[in-house]
């Protein structure tokens, strides 16, 4: 399952400052479900649609996840803007996620 979520319609150009993220989850595992919900909330509140999120189900694409360097799930990789950052866990600690995403200092 690869779900792509964008803050705007797919036809809209992403602004230069958009945050690009990949969230690795395991289907409907409790931590994964929580992580998706938590991230969606954060995006809604802080990014105002200015982001691109890819959600990858490791159960479906294990070798891709392995190649991407995923260790545990859920795992959020922020690819852009640099520096890249990784957050592991169900993202319940909001301040940590915000720091990693560069939203707050």
């Amino acid at each position: 399952m690869v779900r792509k979520k964008k803050g705007r319609a797919s036809s809209d150009p992403v602004t230069a400052t958009a945050v690009v993220m990949v969230l690795y989850i395991t289907d409907s595992g409790p931590n994964s479900v929580r992580a998706v919900a938590n991230l969606e909330a954060i995006c809604k509140e802080h990014l105002q649609g200015n982001f691109r999120l890819e959600i990858i189900d490791v159960l479906q694409y294990p070798l891709r996840a392995l190649a991407d360097g995923v260790v545990v799930t859920p795992s959020l990789a922020k690819l852009f803007p640099l520096p890249a950052a990784t957050v592991v866990g169900n993202l319940s600690d909001k301040s940590g996620v915000l720091r990693a995403l560069g939203i707050v200092e």
Partner: protein, 603 residues
């Protein structure tokens, strides 16, 4: 035996690690399809054990494996393993997969996570390469990140279920846990959950790190209890497993020279092939010389020989030995003799044993010298050194190598002859070298304290080093004192003088006897002369008598003639006639005899 084995295999199958010594002490290796926990402090050998098991499974049984590295980077682990002759590069292509499971310090943790994703990835990889073994190295790092004791238990169960589901042949967890405490809340649970726990320990003893391993738990099977020494050689980790309780060595009755003839005589014909000989003595008593002579003699017989020296360069030893007529260099050149010099400071005895075994495997010697073996006790404590010395001698015996080892003992008391290493009890032959100080001289003495299974001299001999090599000389005991050196020379001179005196006395006696004999001869001659004279006299007397008889008869005849008397009927002339005849013939016989006597005297 075979029946027991069958039962064991049925209920608790095991899988060999290929680590020397471990499979013996665990009676077959790790539990199959189960989890083994390796615990111990940092640098105690957990990772090496785990990786070596993977390597040997991949190489020897073609069973690929996955190594999940939580603590160190895979590149780092691979680089560390390059010190062993494992040829990891070849395995990394297909047989060995490293998963970098390091959560770098930059990773932010936000809330709970689990291992569902990781296990999904591992499953995919396992199916891709057909992995049979899996190692989770540094699982304590992972569990610490889980933060909640409940999560720890949950994830451990998750791994266990996953392993069961995926039919992994063997799973190894390594955890940095020392005996005293741990960061893992559910350490007790982890111990309980696994089927086998192996504890590694690294401790400093006299400045040297000593590695030990101990199986503390093994569900449903017997195993050797107790600590076993661990060493690291070129082939990786080696564990000195339990010694076979029964000593099975075939004793050879073949004799090999101990180096020089007189020593062989003292030993009743030489050393037995495959036996071990201990030479003890204080420094400077020629232990090296005698062992060098043994090595040289072995090379001359065409037997491959290994000469291991500690704390002195091989070249220096060979050079020094030429001064006493022992030529080792030509044999080194021809490859017959391998000389190796090892340092002993800061090297654990176990590592020496690994090196010695490697040297034996490389050179395949029939004869071997270690000079001095006692040097291995220099660093790392005596207990370890004793164990190593014993195991070395057993190893050599198993391979039928005739071994001569030397040991230095401090002090020169006879009771101090027993060495610190306690090898004197397992050595077959024990030669002791000492100094005897008498008459202002220090002389070397050689004694055979024991020599198993053979007659040997119980006499002390003086050891003299000459250009032609070591020589043994008789010693004299006079008034309860052993004489050596100058005193011996004096004694020998005295003995020589005595011999000369005895000889001259004998000569004198002989001459006297000869004289007496000559005297007797002379007397016999004189008596013979007397006898001759007497016989002549006697003959003369008879001839006079004859003359008288003849003249008397003549006178009678003349008288008769004158008187014209009848001659017949008269017996007297008839009786006189045979008498006359007899003496006449006897007269000539006497003269013959006389001639004979003269001829004999003349000769």
């Amino acid at each position: 035996m075979s029946e027991t084995k069958k039962v064991v295999q049925q209920y608790l199958p095991k899988i060999a690690t290929g680590i020397q010594g471990f499979d013996e002490l665990s009676h077959g290796g790790l539990p199959r399809n189960r989890i083994t926990l390796l615990k111990g402090g940092p640098g105690s050998g957990k990772t090496v054990f785990a990786l070596q098991s993977l390597v040997s499974a991949a190489r020897q049984r073609d069973e690929p494996g996955i190594f999940v590295a939580f603590e160190e980077r895979p590149q780092q682990i691979i680089a560390n393993a390059a010190g062993f002759q494992w040829d990891m590069a070849a395995l990394l292509k297909r047989k060995l997969f490293f998963m970098d499971a390091n959560l770098s310090p930059g990773v932010v943790q936000s809330g709970e996570f689990d291992l569902r994703g990781m296990l999904a990835m591992l499953k995919a990889k396992k199916e891709q390469i057909g992995a049979r073994w899996i190692v989770f190295d540094g699982i304590d790092v992972l569990l610490t990140l889980l933060q909640h004791p409940k999560s720890e238990i949950r994830e451990i169960y998750r791994i266990r279920d996953w392993l069961a589901e995926n039919e992994v042949d063997a799973a190894i967890f390594t955890a940095k846990i020392d005996g005293h405490g741990t960061a893992i809340a559910n350490y007790g649970f982890l111990q309980f959950m696994v089927d086998c726990v192996i504890e590694f320990e690294s401790r400093l003893e006299c400045g040297v790190a000593l590695h030990r391993v101990q199986v503390t738990k093994y569900r449903g099977t017997a195993f050797a209890k107790g600590e076993y020494p661990v060493s690291f050689g070129a082939g990786g980790m080696e564990i000195a497993g339990p010694e076979p309780t029964e000593i099975q060595q075939v004793a050879s009755s073949e004799r090999v020279s101990a180096g020089f003839e007189r020593l062989d005589t003292m030993l009743g014909g030489g050393l037995f092939r495959g036996s071990s000989t201990l030479i003890t003595g204080v420094p400077g008593t020629s232990k090296t010389t005698i062992s060098g002579k043994f090595a040289e003699a072995a090379c001359r017989r065409g037997e491959r020989t290994l000469f291991v020296s500690f704390d002195e360069g091989a070249d220096r030893i060979a050079q020094n030995l030429t001064s006493v007529g022992i030529q080792l260099k030509p044999f080194v050149k021809s490859g017959m003799l391998r000389m190796y010099s090892g340092r002993t400071e800061s090297i654990a005895a176990e590592d020496h044993l690994v090196k010695l075994k490697a040297l034996i495997a490389e050179h395949r010697p029939l004869c071997m010298v270690i000079d001095p073996l006692s040097a291995i006790a220099k660093a790392g404590g005596l207990t370890a050194a004793r164990s190593v010395a014993n195991r070395f001698i057993y190893t050599a015996k198993e391979q039928k190598i005739t071994v001569v080892v030397t040991a230095i003992n401090e002090g020169d008391q006879p009771e101090a002859e027993a060495t610190d290493l306690q090898i004197s009890t397992i050595a077959d032959t024990w030669i002791h070298l000492s100094y005897l100080i008498r008459g202002g001289e220090r002389n070397r003495a050689l004694t055979i304290i024991k020599s198993r299974g053979t007659q040997h001299s119980n006499q002390v001999r003086e050891l003299i080093l000459s250009d032609a090599g070591p020589v043994l000389a008789d010693v004299y005991t006079a008034g309860g004192e052993v004489l050596m050196g100058t005193l011996r020379w004096e004694k020998e001179d005295e003995e020589r003088a005595k011999t000369i005196q005895r000889r001259s006395e004998f000569d004198q006696k002989r001459m006297a006897l000869e004289l007496a004999e000559a005297d007797t001869h002379a007397r016999i001659k004189a008596l013979e002369h007397d006898l001759k004279r007497q016989r002549v006299e006697l003959a003369t007397y008879f001839s006079d008598d004859q003359v008288r008889v003849v003249s008397a008869s003549d006178r009678q005849k003349s008288l008769r003639r004158i008187r014209s008397a009848d001659l017949t009927g008269r017996a007297a002339p008839g009786a006189a006639a045979p008498r006359q005849k007899r003496y006449g013939s006897n007269g000539s016989g006497t003269s013959e005899k006389k001639n004979k006597t003269e001829a004999r005297d003349g000769s």
